[in-house]
């Protein structure tokens, strides 16, 4: 389900109170404030159809001034194996940065698992988590990312982000 609307205190509490009362279990979720908008995406396990759940949330959503939509979740087949990397980019804002960077990643078979962009004044910042196919030479991709950055007039870096398992 997604919940989105003008940010204010009490959105998470108001929505999750309804979910708890329905016996719905919040599994994975991510929530963030984007400018003045608060956005939540949640995977919820509940003994109800998507439209029933959406109807149950309607009153709470209306009083909070947010829009809540529910649809059936896809079966998680698990991510394809890949080497975890982080791409960071910063520089002068212009149209098309995200499109160009993600086109390059898609072309090398990269799978984006998380991405954040922020525009502050003229400065554009992009941070993206991407899994590269195991057979892909990440040094070559890193060079291509840096070259694309040069072409776009921004600084772009791709580096491995494998966790130390201890």
């Amino acid at each position: 389900m997604t919940v989105i609307g003008r940010d204010r205190p009490g959105i998470v509490a108001g929505i999750t109170r309804v979910l708890a009362a329905l016996g719905a279990n919040i599994e994975d979720s991510t929530m963030t404030r984007l400018r003045g908008t608060f956005a939540m995406t949640l995977v919820v396990e509940v003994d109800a159809e998507a439209d029933q759940l959406e109807a149950s949330l309607a009153d709470a959503a209306a009083s909070l001034g947010v829009k809540a939509s529910v649809s059936p979740a896809v079966e998680d087949a698990g991510a394809a194996p890949g080497a975890h990397h982080v791409l960071t980019l910063h520089g002068a804002d212009r149209t098309g940065i995200v499109a160009e960077v993600t086109a390059l990643l898609a072309q090398v078979g990269g799978n984006i698992t998380e991405m954040t962009t922020r525009l502050t004044g003229e400065l554009y910042v992009l941070v993206c988590e991407v899994d590269l196919p195991p057979q892909r030479d990440s040094a070559i991709v890193a060079t291509e990312v840096a070259q694309l950055g040069d072409r776009l007039g921004v600084s772009a870096t791709l580096r491995p982000a494998e966790a130390d398992v201890l």
């Binding site: 899994d131 966790a163 130390d164 398992v165």
Partner: protein
């Protein structure tokens, strides 16, 4: 020191070596109630300092400097990793089971991070307790 602590340390070393890629293990990870861990970062690609096999009871962090954020996972938390701030240079003190001698370990880089991870285990803490923020928790990739 009690002989059962020596036996426990040996069991921890065996378990650690039986898991590919495992460089450290604390007693409470195998359900044993003792302030004890083993560590051996030899052969790991990221190893800088190498203190050999480290087996310490009642370990204490004496000094920690050069803090940096890095990504960490744990055998006890199979599916998640997190961004955690750790010192890249540490001094750790503890007692060697058996002889009862005091040992002081000075470590850099990966070994320093691994020592702090094990010290946390000894205190009943996981890297999850130190994650840098709400968006610093990640799904762990199975690829090694």
């Amino acid at each position: 020191m009690a002989p059962e602590v020596v036996a426990l340390a040996e069991a921890l070393l065996d378990t650690m070596r039986a898991h590919a890629g495992c460089v450290g293990l604390a007693a409470n990870q195998v359900g044993a109630d003792a302030r004890l861990f083993v560590l051996d970062v030899g052969g790991h690609a990221k190893t800088r300092s190498y203190s050999g096999v480290v087996v310490l009871a009642n370990p204490v962090l004496v000094e920690a400097t050069r803090w940096e954020k890095g990504r960490e996972g744990c055998l006890s938390v199979p599916d998640l990793t997190g961004d955690v701030k750790r010192a890249r240079r540490v001094i750790v003190r503890g007692v060697i089971p058996g002889s009862g001698e005091l040992r002081v370990v000075e470590a850099d880089g990966y070994e320093a991070v691994a020592l702090q991870h094990e010290l946390d285990h000894v205190d009943g803490r996981l890297f999850l307790d130190r994650v840098a923020g709400a968006h610093a928790l990640h799904q762990r990739q199975t690829y090694l």
